[in-house]
């Protein structure tokens, strides 16, 4: 493992970057600890790639500081920074073999030939590409090219590895495999990863910590579980799939329970939540998979229970997505029913049902 004393691996302090009239990164601050996999998650245009490029040195900051291992690197050009980038399009040199691609950075550092051969061989073994040394990028598959790009950057033993959506061009199956690969390699090598992606699933499965970004700013930094289960802002909630969002205010408290009320008079139950001042709360989000359906007349206590009418049912394989119309809510309620019991078609479109969820499924949001 790499020992850097007390300094954090990467620290970004109040960094901004503009392109003409467009502010890509807006007073951003974050830090990444040694050995972590840290993801920047957000839709396209949110500034995550720009942030990555600012760390790599491929763009210069307008204001603020970028620190690698405690040292300010603002003025250090890209080829001298101790970080390495895996590009979205991989950018493998088409006129060089796999071997030569991986050896490139080492050659620039004037490492001895014998040492280069040894390191390249070890890297090929690590990413499981032994036997492909003499091939050109055009002669290997997409997944193999990914691994070459990874090997090329890793062989330089950078302080931090920057990955710009490296899996976006792969199909789903390959993406899942490569995600596991990346994690495995990271654990083995212990290098810090800064990972940029727009894919929630990848971010959730890979990261130690996630920063959700929007319009150049950070919405929330938390663990994967925190981001998914306790989103703090409307943007994060919607981005992570908690599409059932109710605008409401605290109406009353009773022991450990809080009651919120929407404009339309809908009363929502939420459990006591830490870290959020209930008085400041402006809304509640609920993930679709936490809502259950029951026939009218079922006795349900101590939960949020409402009556709604099924508007749509979409079969998704592992689950069935149901959209309900509820008279006190403008938007449809989305429910994700697990398809654990096959062949069962309990409900039909147009039918009236009860939908309900536990108090601790209500997640409090603030503006």
């Amino acid at each position: 493992m790499i020992d850097t004393g007390n300094a954090r691996c990467l620290e970004i302090k109040d960094v901004s970057k503009k392109f003409g009239a467009v502010t890509a990164v807006d007073h951003l601050s974050l830090y990444v600890e040694q050995g972590q996999i840290f993801s920047l998650l957000g839709p396209s245009g949110c500034g995550k790639t720009t942030t990555l490029r600012l760390v790599a040195g491929l763009e210069t900051v307008d204001q603020g500081e970028v620190l690698l291992n405690g040292k300010i690197v603002n003025d250090i050009p890209a080829h001298k920074r101790e970080c390495s980038t895996v590009f979205q399009t991989l950018a493998l040199f088409p006129h060089m073999t796999v071997e030569q691609n991986i050896a490139y950075g080492l050659e620039r550092r004037k490492v001895a030939k014998k040492e280069i051969i040894r390191k390249v061989a070890r890297m090929l073994d690590l990413v499981q590409l032994l036997g492909m040394e003499k091939r050109r990028p055009s002669q290997i598959s997409g997944g193999q090219r990914q691994r070459v790009a990874l090997a090329r950057s890793l062989v330089l033993e950078p302080k931090i590895l920057l990955l710009d959506e490296p899996l976006s061009s792969l199909d789903r199956k390959l993406r899942k495999e490569m995600t596991i690969e990346l994690k495995r390699v990271q654990r083995e090598v212990g290098i810090t990863f800064l990972y940029v992606t727009h894919d929630q699933k990848v971010a959730l499965s890979m990261s130690d910590r996630i920063a959700v970004m929007s319009k150049g700013k950070i919405e929330q930094i938390d663990t994967a579980q925190g981001i998914y289960e306790v989103p703090k802002t409307y943007f994060v909630a919607e981005f992570m799939g908690a599409v059932n969002i109710f605008r409401c205010r605290l109406a009353s408290r009773s022991g450990e329970k809080m009651y919120f009320e929407t404009e339309e008079g809908m009363k929502i139950l939420a459990a006591m939540c830490t870290g959020v001042c209930a008085e400041k709360a402006t809304g509640i989000s609920v993930h679709p998979e936490l809502i259950e359906l029951s026939p009218i007349g079922t006795k349900i206590a101590n939960k949020n229970v409402f009556k709604g009418k099924i508007a749509e049912m979409n079969y998704q394989g592992d689950c069935i997505e149901v959209k309900l119309a509820y008279h006190d809510s403008k938007n449809p309620i989305t429910v994700s029913l697990s398809n654990r019991i096959r062949g069962q078609s309990l409900y039909k479109v147009g039918e009236e049902v009860l939908f309900h969820w536990e108090a601790d499924g209500s997640n409090v949001l603030t503006d």
Partner: protein
């Protein structure tokens, strides 16, 4: 009654077999054409090329092996004496001079052309296209006029000498014309844009992420150029060289206007034998020799740079 019916039916059946036979051969032709749907498209071009490119060249090669008659006619006797003319000392000197000049032109265009193309692509920004246009534009003028302009500029009493005299940089006017050097300058002046164009196109098509990856992996600007940029644009150097070397070989106007007919190049010889002397066989042998050189150069370029690179320039 039966006999009449028989004759009518037999006539009808023979007519049917007759039409069937015609139909069958017509079908064959249609089938032939249908399998070759590309005929109507590439047909016109192919026919034209055969009639007016291959045939003329063929005829020249053919005539180069025939004997020249005393009154300008051609005797159909196979001979190699025309090719022996190539080894004639005067002719040899001319050819050597031609190749040397063409080679030097090529070299100078490479050395000067690549930096220009690089500068336009890397530092041109929004003005890139306009800069390239500005470079190509003089080439759109008639070659004759361009050489003439150059000649008046470099003449004994030309503008260049006048300016230099006035600035007191020289005491007496320089003899700038009528030397091989002036032809060299004329050739570079004429063909430099054609070296820059393919190099520019190639540099433009370079994936900028490859350059970023190179920097990211630790290469400084110089290393980046020699390990990534140059190798990936290698093909354009071949294409550019082709577009400079070959015209230089056959050029006849530059030696005429700038060399004053005192310094001859291969092109001048060809013109001389065909138009002035009317000696077709000897002229043909010279032309065939040049053709052979051109085809060789073309082969080398296509082998190393690929035909697409060549076509893309257009």
């Amino acid at each position: 009654m039966g006999a009449v019916a028989d004759t009518i039916s037999s006539k009808r059946s023979s007519k049917i077999t007759e039409t069937r036979r015609q139909h069958h051969s017509g079908k064959k032709i249609i089938g032939f054409l249908r399998r070759r749907a590309y005929f109507p498209y590439v047909g016109p071009l192919s026919v034209w090329i055969i009639l007016f490119v291959i045939a003329p060249l063929g005829i020249i090669i053919y005539y180069s092996f025939l004997r020249a008659g005393p009154s300008g006619n051609i005797i159909a006797v196979f001979t190699l004496e025309n090719y022996r003319a190539l080894f004639n000392p005067t002719v040899r000197v001319v050819f050597l001079r031609t190749f040397l000049l063409a080679f030097l032109t090529n070299l100078i265009c490479l050395i000067v052309g690549y930096p220009i193309a690089y500068w336009i692509v890397m530092y041109g920004g929004r003005w890139k296209h306009r800069l390239v246009f500005l470079l190509i534009m003089p080439s759109w003028t008639c070659y004759l006029i361009r050489l003439y302009a150059l000649k008046t500029l470099m003449g004994y009493s030309g503008l260049l000498n006048a300016v230099l005299l006035k600035l007191n940089l020289i005491q007496a006017p320089l003899q700038l014309l009528y030397t091989p050097g002036s032809i060299l300058l004329g050739l570079v002046y004429a063909w430099l844009p054609f070296m820059v164009l393919p190099i520019y196109a190639s540099l433009e098509g370079l994936d900028p992420l490859l350059l970023e990856a190179s920097s990211d992996l630790g290469a400084n600007s110089f290393e980046r150029f020699f390990t990534v940029t140059l190798p990936l644009t290698k093909g354009s150097l071949f294409v550019g060289s082709l577009l400079v070397f070959i015209p230089s070989l056959g050029d006849w106007l530059a030696p005429l206007l700038l060399g004053g007919d005192k310094v001859l190049l291969a092109g001048s010889l060809v013109e001389h034998y065909f138009l002035k002397q009317g000696n077709i066989p000897v002229g043909s042998s010279l032309a065939t020799f040049l053709t052979a050189v051109v085809l060789l150069a073309l082969y080398v370029v296509i082998k190393f740079a690929g035909q697409d690179a060549l076509e893309r320039v257009l």
